[in-house]
Symmetry: C2
Subunit: 487 residues, 2 copies
Amino acid sequence: MTPEQFRQHGYQVIDWLADYIENVEEYPVLSRVRPGAIRSRLPDAAPDVGEPFELVLRDLDQIILPGITHWQSPGFFAYFPSNASPASILGDLVSSGLGVQGMLWSTSPACTELEMHVLDWLVDLMGLPAAFKSDGLGGGVIQDTASSSTLSTIVAARARTEKGGRRREKGENGKRNAKSASRDSELVAYASREAHSSVEKGIRIAGIPRENLRLVDVDRELAMDADALARVMTDDVDAGRVPFFVCATIGTTGTTAIDPVRRIGELAREHGAWFHVDAAYAGSAAVCPELRWTHDGVELADSYTFNPHKWLLTNFDCNALYVQDRTSLIDAFSITPEYLRNAASETGDVIDYRDWHVQLGRRFRALKLWFVLRHYGAEGLRAHIRKDVELAQYFAGLVAASDDYELAAPATFGLVCFRHVEGDDTTRAVMDRINDSGRAYLTHTVVDGRVGLRLAIGGVRTERRHVDEVWDLMGSGLDSCIEPEDD
Amino acid sequence: MTPEQFRQHGYQVIDWLADYIENVEEYPVLSRVRPGAIRSRLPDAAPDVGEPFELVLRDLDQIILPGITHWQSPGFFAYFPSNASPASILGDLVSSGLGVQGMLWSTSPACTELEMHVLDWLVDLMGLPAAFKSDGLGGGVIQDTASSSTLSTIVAARARTEKGGRRREKGENGKRNAKSASRDSELVAYASREAHSSVEKGIRIAGIPRENLRLVDVDRELAMDADALARVMTDDVDAGRVPFFVCATIGTTGTTAIDPVRRIGELAREHGAWFHVDAAYAGSAAVCPELRWTHDGVELADSYTFNPHKWLLTNFDCNALYVQDRTSLIDAFSITPEYLRNAASETGDVIDYRDWHVQLGRRFRALKLWFVLRHYGAEGLRAHIRKDVELAQYFAGLVAASDDYELAAPATFGLVCFRHVEGDDTTRAVMDRINDSGRAYLTHTVVDGRVGLRLAIGGVRTERRHVDEVWDLMGSGLDSCIEPEDD
């Protein structure tokens, strides 16, 4: 494909996407295909000879599109938003085209420096602790997902704990391997029962025994019970175990519950454990000063993670991880083979982000964040968050005033959790009817043993009329609710 | 940004990229900026109010571009290629615009099914074992990088070993935690000294003690010495340890050495260890039948990974991981909270790729691979690989025939490792001169204790004249070689 052909086909794809953005509301939000339906329409083998670009675009429409669940639809309320704003799509396009690797500063200095810079911008924009900025000992890094970030902090926490020598050493008589492995044997991690599954997954990947992860009880609002945390930590210490990692969540996935960050942080510090704050979804809310109360105590955190790719109008993948002490990450991850040695790195004047995460290769993801920050400006980002919170408040008000429905959890951000008063069967039937309508897509969770529906408001193009449409679907003709389908 | 504005700005970005692709040869390949230079030109804070799109594009040219090391330049030979072919850029653009999450089949069926399908296509196209296809017990998955894939297989190998109960249990009298941790204490992993650093990194992340990773000696061609592997495995077993993971490399990063895959696989099987084959770079060569001898024995592998984002014309990130038994991955990674439960998954009729890797969220990366496979066809892919291998043979021939230079390792694929006969200082001076010229960019490695330069041929637009230019830079005016700079 020559540059001129690229220009021509590029226009075609841009046109295709502009039309898609304009018409996305017309598609059923949740794809209606059955398992295997897409594959059955694809040929058994790759073509021997290259095909015209127009054929690919034709199949994109005819084969792929029916199998898409439309995350960018204004009627998509199923999961936290995964916003592909037009500005971020274009920033990502530049990143794809430049095709640079930011594993080392030297392999594209702008990739590293723009990343450091826009992440510092966000610290100020969100009122986060200055210690997270890269001009001191801390710094931010873009990772793909909060799952990866949380794993990174678990690994860094373990390395710091082992380095600090705070764990109880076994006698020197033991076998060498047994002794080495005992490094992990006494380490204990803590999160709430409502914490994201990535904490358990990260603990498992890191090789920490599952029984050394404590999922602490929650209070009535599904926030971690700090008193329960204090008790279990004390019990562990009394038993000779070493608390090494504590995770608090601001905005849990199930219901956006807010853990008592300050108290949890104080307990973590008291026991010398790494304190990680997972604000994957709700962190973006901190661009609004009136929502920063949700972040009280975050200055106690060793690490903090949130996803601009969720609620901050930046397309997936773009997770931001901040640490107060960047050497803790670098110590945990740095391995330098000969082919990665270079003058800039050896002087220590630059940051090499490959030492901040699992991956070596990394794309220029700061570009799309930069496009978003400049296109929207601070005011535009705040306006987006405020619109979503207002819509959530509006919908929560409808639910609260209704005889048929009730709130299942407080609605602080853009998520409203609610249920039908008649019980789980009716609640599920309502969900199925909404999803089957094609006009909207919701998911469920379980709160206090009862099914609750999650209306996650946050789409770029979601307006009050889309929320009203869900409300209408909830209100009319409940008698005709169909049974859940078996696929 | 309205759809119409997106169309307009989208054309601008496409034009910018078309011009970039056309002119990339004109830029100095290795960026010449000093540390901090890019940041010093960026404002201290994000803008309060959104800015016109044209200003962002202006700063892209004026501030960002000087800090880019041009991986897409035909003079880029420093690392294995990271090809952003025009077709893949456009496939990636569609993925950015659709903005779907493929964590579950149900969250966009086409995302999962196209991924399964094109990865099956590649099995046939590359002559890989049919057991890697998803119509049986195996299957492929797209991950971001081979580092992540290798970590995934380490975690799966450990889980399988523990599940299989083959490890030696400690007495039941030990403390509960100590006993649990002992699960890892006897596990041993193996790779060659020339294996990629991601093996050591993955072992570290997984919490396996470093002393339980054996970096086995290599032969004169820098391939793993299988006899040495046999000895060290036997020693470990005799000492009561359990070999759980063996990694062979097809095409090492330093010199593209090829480990004796079949013998290593037989040893791994004999000891019941997971056998992983890392063909991150060289795997793409298997699209050419005449290069499949490099993959002899790969049917013994439990897992196999290669990067279409390296040599198969697909832009970063796109790694393919294949396993013979997909339940081994799923067992290791599956955790299902309530909000991810859904009818399609419960039936077991579908694949949910979130259980195949570290991350939960995942973008629709199969699209760009599909665009590439259809645009180039099998013939186009083979032609690309053959062009690069021929250019490497041509350059290796120049080196071999020269009085001043010699090959440092065999050139089987697109990489040529060579050095100046006068010794390391001259070899380094040659590298610096080439890199300072702005016309090309090379890196170095160490072979047999001596510095070797790496000319990695594989760019989309790299032609013989670009290789000739490197040769010219190597031959003329060596007296004026400058000293390495200190940044």
